[in-house]
Amino acid sequence: MSDRAGITRRGLFRGIGTAGLLAGCKPSERPPTTTDDPGAAASPGEETAVGPGPAPLSFTLNGEAKTLEVAPNITLLAALREQLRFTGTKVVCDRGACGACTVLIDGVPRNSCMTLAHDVAGAAVTTVEGLASGGKLSVLQQAFVRNDALQCGFCTSGMLMSCQGLLERTRGQKLAREDVEAAIAGNLCRCGTYPNVVAAVLEAAGGSA
């Protein structure tokens, strides 16, 4: 559908959404665009300060170096989705309770909604977009497809990252059902796909060992 029309659902909303939003903003409510904190330069000792306005941030996203200007009160989740347009990572509870926003930070699964963007300065972040390579789904993603490990799909990108974290830290080890269950205990799936997720991860672990 989207190919034929030359337009995507997200692209359409993005176009009309921001224009409408900015039109409705009083100038004082617009996000600040400069760092004008005098304290940042005048800090004592070795202490450094960031913000409150947007400040430069560099990190690695799915193997690629990224530099952007982001304010300290922006979460990693918001920066990924709204600034870098990596929308594979989902917003659900935004309070660290559901796991839909799980990403790997230096290989460790973390809730990107409870992480500030500036927390990942210099770190390597992997999102669901980083799993496939060369247009080919990863072993884990293929196992998800084969085992019907998703239904509505909203938890899937986070679920995949928790499972990817497990596979990376247990590489070469034999996994038990309990290992997978423990690894996904922070990922809520309202469709109840858990048994199929467990089967998919066990298959992927067997296949890559």
């Binding site: 904190d37 460790v108 699964p109």
Partner: protein, 333 residues
């Protein structure tokens, strides 16, 4: 969240100076799980977050996890995931390992720290709702008294009826931990003195002053044949706060229990050490009948609110289970 400045001091002295300069308008941040949650909910809007994760090598003690003399030290920045997987927490300190591994979710445990877990604010829904009155927010009443109080205190309550939210606190209290605090001076407290009851001050749960930083916890050298254990009951297996917790420590020699500690969690505004249960067990041979007696004694003073009387048999059963497990006495069918 309102805009704020992230300050990244290299030393605890600088961190303390920054916090004292803006006592009402700054917050110390470690893992930030509870802090960011409170800021998103509009409960707090500090103008400055003072980041402890960026402290330099001179403050390596904040990240230490290992032997301290004949005991064990745990830096405030050690994550719950590190604790849950730490092999140095053998049978003597098992309660702490089990507690750390049961809290929150695996992804939260990868970020949440010892210090943040101990110093987090209560999870009472009246406290957590920005628009509702609460003694802890300077209000005139505790709505839990006459409101929905299924998850509130049955022991030590009043005038506020929160339950202490820290899972590590329960285990660390049973293990006789001490905490090291650094402000303009350093001080070391038995962990029980870190916690503030609502009768002492309804607005706070810990005794730290502005600019003071919790640096580390120290577990004393284990007693002879020391063993310990922890368990919690929750409505869900994961993603949930305990309804009740129990942590037990004892030295068990020839079946006789000495140096017994019994602590209940999520039943009171502080980790609830039951000296009644300890007295019932101390110096006696472990047995099913004695455990039942001790569990009864632990809850004898409970005063439930409208919706939480269920916590009495729940906590009794949980305590018995942990005592059986720690002492190696088979559970009755």
């Amino acid at each position: 969240m309102q805009p704020f400045v992230l300050s990244r001091p290299k030393t605890l002295a600088e961190a303390g100076d920054l916090a004292r300069a803006q006592p009402q308008d700054s917050a110390l941040r470690a893992g930030g799980i509870d802090l960011i949650d409170r800021m998103k909910e509009g409960l707090e809007a500090p103008a400055r977050l003072i980041e402890l994760r960026w402290l330099g090598e001179s403050e390596a003690v904040m990240r230490a996890l290992g032997p301290d003399g004949e005991g064990l030290q745990i830096g405030a920045l050690v994550t719950l995931a590190q604790l849950a997987g730490h092999e140095g927490l053998g049978e003597a300190y098992a309660a702490l390992r089990q507690a750390a591994g049961s809290a929150a979710t695996p992804t939260i445990r990868n970020a949440a720290t010892l210090g943040g877990n101990l110093l987090q604010r209560p999870r009472c829904w009246y406290f957590r709702h920005a628009d509702l009155v609460c003694l802890k927010k300077g209000g005139s009443a505790c709505l839990a008294v006459s409101g929905e109080n299924k998850y509130h205190a049955i022991l030590g309550g009043g005038p506020s009826f929160i339950v202490h939210p820290s899972t590590l606190a329960c285990a660390l209290t049973a293990l006789d931990a001490q905490v090291v605090i650094r402000g303009t001076e350093a001080r070391t407290l038995p962990i029980a003195e870190l916690f503030v009851t609502p009768k002492q001050d309804a607005k706070r749960e810990h005794a730290l002053q502005p600019g003071e930083v919790l640096v580390r916890a120290i577990l004393p050298k284990p007693g002879a044949e020391q063993r310990s254990g922890y368990a919690a009951v929750k409505e869900k297996q994961s993603h949930d706060w305990p309804l009740a917790e129990a942590a037990v420590k004892m030295s068990l020699q020839s079946g006789v229990m000495t140096d017994v500690r019994v602590v209940l969690g999520h039943v009171a505004p502080i980790p609830w050490r039951s000296r009644e249960a300890e007295a019932a067990l101390e110096g006696k041979p472990a047995s099913e009948a004695l455990f039942a007696e001790a569990a009864k004694a632990a809850l004898a003073e409970a005063r439930p609110l409208r919706d939480n009387a269920y916590k009495i048999p729940l906590a009794q059963g949980l305590l018995r289970e942990v005592l059986h497990r720690v002492a190696g006495v088979p559970l009755p069918e």
